[in-house]
C-alpha cells in the first residue's frame, strides 16, 4: 500500500511538470493558424523571436504585426507569388533571446518543419548560434540583430530587415550635438552581450568621429535590476552625455531614473527608442524630458500611422508605439518573396542579393544597401526621424530620407573604419 502510495505521489509532480510544459506551449504559441488553408497552396514561414523573457516586449509586437499582415493576405485569397496564391502559415519558435534556444529553434524549423524562410532572430547571440545552418540548408534568415558582424560576404543567406544602431547612430549623434554644442564628454552603458558590445563599439567610434571624450564605458549583466553602483561609477566621471546605446527599454528607464536622482543634468540618448509608456511609468515625466532617440512622432508621423494604430489596438487590445516600427519587418519577408515571383529560397536570395531592391512600407521606402561597408548590400535602409521627449511625448524634430541616411553612414564608415571589439 505504501509502495502504491509512493508511486501515486511521484506521478503527481510528473503530471504537473507535463501540464506546466503544455500550458507554456499553449501560452506562448497561441498564435492563430489558418485551418481553411488545407486545400490551398501553403507558404510555410518560420519565425524565431523572443516571445517570453525580458526581450518579449520586442518580440511580441513583431509577432503580432506579422500575424496581422498574413491575416490580411490570407483574407484576400493568399499572397500572390508568380502565378499562384499562397496561404501564409507561420511556425513560431521562442528563443527567449538566448543563443542555445535560438539554435534549437532553427534546427526544429529547418529539419523538422522544412522551412526555407525564417523571420528573425532579433538576438545577436541567437543568430550567431544558428547562422551556420543557413547556407547548407538554403534557408534565408531575415534577421533583426544589432551586432555589426551579423551580415557580410560570409553569410550570403542573411538579410537584415531592421535598421540598426550602425545606421541610426551617426544621425542621432549629429542631431544631439548640433542641438547641444556644449557636450564634450560621453559615458556609454550597455548590456554585457553581443548586442551590447556592438553598441559600445559604435559609441566609441561615434565619439571619435564627433571629437568627444569617452569617459566611461560600462557593461551590466542581463539580469541586473539595481543599477545604482554602475550609475554611481559612471557619474563619478562627470559625463555631459549618457549614451544608453543598445539597452532595452526597461533598462533605459531604470538607468535614466537613477542618473537623474543622482543629480545628472546632462543629455541622455539611446539608439533603439524606448516606448513612452515604459519611460513614463518607470522614470517619470520630469526625468525623461529631453531624452533623444529615433522614433516616429508627431508632427512628422507617416500618413498610415493612425490607421495602423487603430487596427492594431482593435486586434490586440493594447497599443504600443513600437508596433508601428515593427510592422515593416514581416512585410519585408512577404514582399521579397512576392517580388522574386517564387517560393524557391535560392531564387529569392539571388533576387535580393543583387542589391538596391526596395519596397514601399507603411513608413515609406525601404531599400537594401550597405555594400560599401558590409561587403554585401543586405542591410535595409528606411526613413528615420530624430525625436526627443518633451512634456511626456515624443516629438519628431527632423526627418532623414533613405538617401541622406545612406550617405551619412557611408561617410562615417569611411572616416572611422569598423574594427571588431575585443570583448
Amino acid at each position: 500500500m505504501r509502495r502504491l502510495f509512493h508511486s501515486q505521489a511521484y506521478s503527481v509532480p510528473i503530471l504537473f511538470v507535463t501540464l506546466v510544459l503544455l500550458l507554456q506551449s499553449v501560452a506562448v504559441f497561441a498564435a492563430p493558424r489558418n485551418a481553411e488553408a488545407a486545400e490551398q497552396k501553403i507558404l510555410k514561414l518560420g519565425s524565431i523571436l523572443p516571445l517570453s523573457g525580458a526581450a518579449a516586449p520586442w518580440g511580441i509586437p513583431w509577432q503580432r504585426t506579422a500575424i496581422m499582415l498574413s491575416e490580411e493576405w490570407n483574407a484576400k485569397g493568399g499572397l500572390p507569388v508568380g502565378e499562384h496564391k499562397y496561404q501564409i502559415e507561420w511556425i513560431w519558435e521562442d528563443d527567449k533571446y538566448k543563443g542555445e534556444e535560438g539554435r534549437m529553434a532553427a534546427e526544429k524549423l529547418i529539419y523538422r518543419d522544412k522551412v526555407k524562410f525564417i523571420f528573425g532572430p532579433i538576438s545577436s547571440s541567437s543568430y550567431f548560434a544558428l547562422r551556420d545552418l543557413l547556407e547548407p540548408n538554403k534557408t534565408i534568415a531575415f534577421i533583426n540583430t544589432y551586432a555589426r558582424e551579423s551580415i557580410g560576404p560570409k553569410w550570403p543567406w542573411t538579410f537584415r530587415v531592421l535598421i540598426t544602431a550602425e545606421e541610426k547612430g551617426p544621425m542621432i549623434y549629429k542631431e544631439v550635438l548640433e542641438r547641444n554644442p556644449n557636450i564634450k564628454k560621453v559615458a556609454a552603458i550597455n548590456r554585457d552581450d553581443e548586442t551590447g558590445w556592438a553598441g559600445d563599439n559604435l559609441s566609441q567610434r561615434l565619439a571619435k568621429y564627433f571629437k568627444l571624450e569617452v569617459v566611461a564605458s560600462e557593461f551590466y549583466p542581463a539580469g541586473m535590476k539595481d543599477f545604482s553602483p554602475l550609475v554611481t561609477r559612471m557619474l563619478a566621471k562627470k559625463p555631459d552625455l549618457i549614451d544608453l546605446s543598445n539597452s532595452s527599454a526597461g533598462h533605459q528607464a531604470a538607468i535614466i531614473k537613477l542618473a537623474r536622482e543622482m543629480g545628472f543634468q546632462g543629455k541622455i540618448m539611446s539608439f533603439p527608442m524606448a516606448p513612452i509608456e515604459t519611460l513614463l511609468q518607470v522614470a517619470g515625466k520630469e526625468f525623461i524630458e529631453g531624452y533623444a532617440s529615433e522614433a516616429f512622432a508627431a508632427p512628422l508621423l507617416p500618413p498610415g500611422h493612425d490607421e495602423f494604430k487603430e487596427k492594431y489596438t482593435k486586434r490586440w487590445g493594447e497599443w504600443v508605439e513600437y508596433a508601428f516600427q515593427a510592422s515593416p519587418y514581416a512585410q519585408f519577408v512577404l514582399e521579397a518573396i512576392k517580388s522574386a515571383g517564387s517560393v524557391d529560397s535560392q531564387i529569392v536570395r539571388d533576387h535580393l542579393a543583387k542589391g538596391g531592391w526596395s519596397y514601399n512600407a507603411i513608413d515609406g521606402e525601404r531599400r537594401l544597401a550597405g555594400g560599401e561597408y558590409y561587403g554585401v548590400s543586405h542591410q535595409v535602409y528606411c526613413t528615420m526621424i530624430y525625436s526627443e521627449i518633451h512634456d511626456g511625448k515624443y516629438v519628431g524634430l527632423k526627418k532623414y530620407a533613405v538617401d541622406d541616411l545612406i550617405k551619412m553612414v557611408k561617410e562615417f564608415n569611411q572616416a572611422i573604419p569598423y574594427i571588431p571589439s575585443k570583448r
Binding site: 539595481d226 553602483p229 563619478a236 518607470v282
Partner: protein, 285 residues
C-alpha cells in the same frame, strides 16, 4: 576615493542589501519550516509588484493599503499553493523541488498572458532626493530601508513573542518534537508558507516603484535570494539579514570600483564562505 562617493556607495549597498534581505527572508523561512527550496518564491514577489501596478498605479488605491492587501492576497495564494502542491509531500525532498521548479516556469508564462509583455513601472511614492555630503540619497530608497527594517523587526517580534511564531520556530528546530508538544505541523506549515509568501509580497510592493516590472523579474529575485541564504545560512532569518546586507555591500563596492567583473568575484567570495563555513554564516542545516 572622495567622501561623497564613499557615502553614495555605502548608501547604495545598504538599500540594495535591504531589498535582498526582504526577498530572502521569506525564502529562508519556508526552508526552515518545510525544508523546501521554493524556487517559485520570486514569482510571488513579481505578482505583488503587479498588484501594486494595478491597485496603486492604475486604480489609485492608497499605497499602504495596497501593501497590506498585496501581502494578504499573496499570503492566501501562498497558502493555496502550499495546500494544493506541497502539502501532499510534506517531509519529502524531491517532489516539492520539482513542483517548485515547475511553478517557477509556469507562473511567468501565465503572467505574460495575463499582464502583457510590456515593461511596467509604478510612480514614486516618496519623491525627492536628499543631498548628504555631496551624495544623492533618494527618499524612495530611504523608505525601503526604513519599512524593510520595520518588517524585519516585526517578523522577529512575531516569531519570538506570538504562539504561532514560537510554534513555527519549534518546527524549524525539530518538527517531530514540536508535534509531540501538540503543535499541528501540517497547519503550521501552511501558515508558515503563507507568511513567507506575504514577505515576498512586501518586498514586491516596496521594490515596485524602484525597478522595472515584467513577468520575468521573479527568476532573478529567486536567484539573489538563493545566494543570500547560501551566504547567510539556509533556514536562518538572521542569516538572511546578514547575507542580504553583505551581498548588497559587495555588489555596491564591486560594481562601483571594479565594474562588471565583480559578479565573478562575488561568486568567488560565496565559494570561499562555503569552504570555511559550509552551513553559511548563521546556518543550521
Amino acid at each position: 576615493m572622495s567622501g561623497e562617493l564613499l557615502i553614495q556607495v555605502l548608501f547604495n549597498g545598504l538599500s540594495m542589501g535591504m531589498i535582498y534581505v526582504l526577498i530572502a527572508s521569506g525564502f529562508t523561512l519556508i526552508y526552515s519550516i518545510m525544508r523546501i527550496l521554493n524556487f517559485a518564491h520570486g514569482e510571488l514577489y513579481m505578482i505583488a509588484g503587479y498588484i501594486t501596478f494595478y491597485l496603486f498605479e492604475q486604480a489609485g488605491l492608497n499605497y499602504f493599503l495596497n501593501l497590506i492587501l498585496a501581502m494578504a492576497i499573496v499570503g492566501l495564494l501562498g497558502a493555496l499553493i502550499e495546500r494544493v502542491f506541497f502539502h501532499p509531500f510534506l517531509g519529502e525532498h524531491d517532489p516539492p523541488l520539482i513542483i517548485a521548479l515547475g511553478l517557477m516556469m509556469l507562473i511567468p508564462g501565465l503572467a505574460l498572458v495575463g499582464f502583457g509583455e510590456l515593461d511596467r513601472g509604478v510612480r514614486k511614492i516618496f519623491p525627492g532626493v536628499l543631498k548628504i555630503g555631496g551624495a544623492y540619497i533618494s527618499m524612495e530608497r530611504i523608505a525601503v530601508i526604513i519599512i524593510g527594517a520595520i518588517i524585519m523587526i516585526g517578523l522577529n517580534f512575531f516569531l519570538k513573542n506570538f504562539k504561532i511564531g514560537r510554534a513555527l520556530q519549534a518546527i524549524s528546530q525539530d518538527a517531530e518534537a514540536a508535534a509531540l508538544q501538540g503543535v499541528n505541523v501540517a497547519t503550521m506549515s501552511t501558515i508558515g508558507f503563507a507568511l513567507s509568501t506575504a514577505l515576498a509580497a512586501a518586498a514586491g510592493v516596496l521594490i515596485a516603484p524602484l525597478f522595472v516590472l515584467n513577468p520575468f523579474i521573479g527568476v532573478e529575485a529567486t536567484f539573489k535570494a538563493l545566494i543570500v541564504v547560501v551566504i547567510g545560512g539556509l533556514g536562518s532569518v538572521q542569516g538572511a539579514l546578514a547575507g542580504g546586507l553583505l551581498l548588497g555591500f559587495m555588489e555596491s563596492f564591486g560594481y562601483t570600483f571594479i565594474g562588471g567583473v565583480s559578479e565573478v568575484l562575488i561568486f568567488c567570495l560565496v565559494l570561499f564562505i562555503l569552504l570555511i563555513r559550509p552551513k553559511g554564516l548563521m546556518g543550521r542545516y
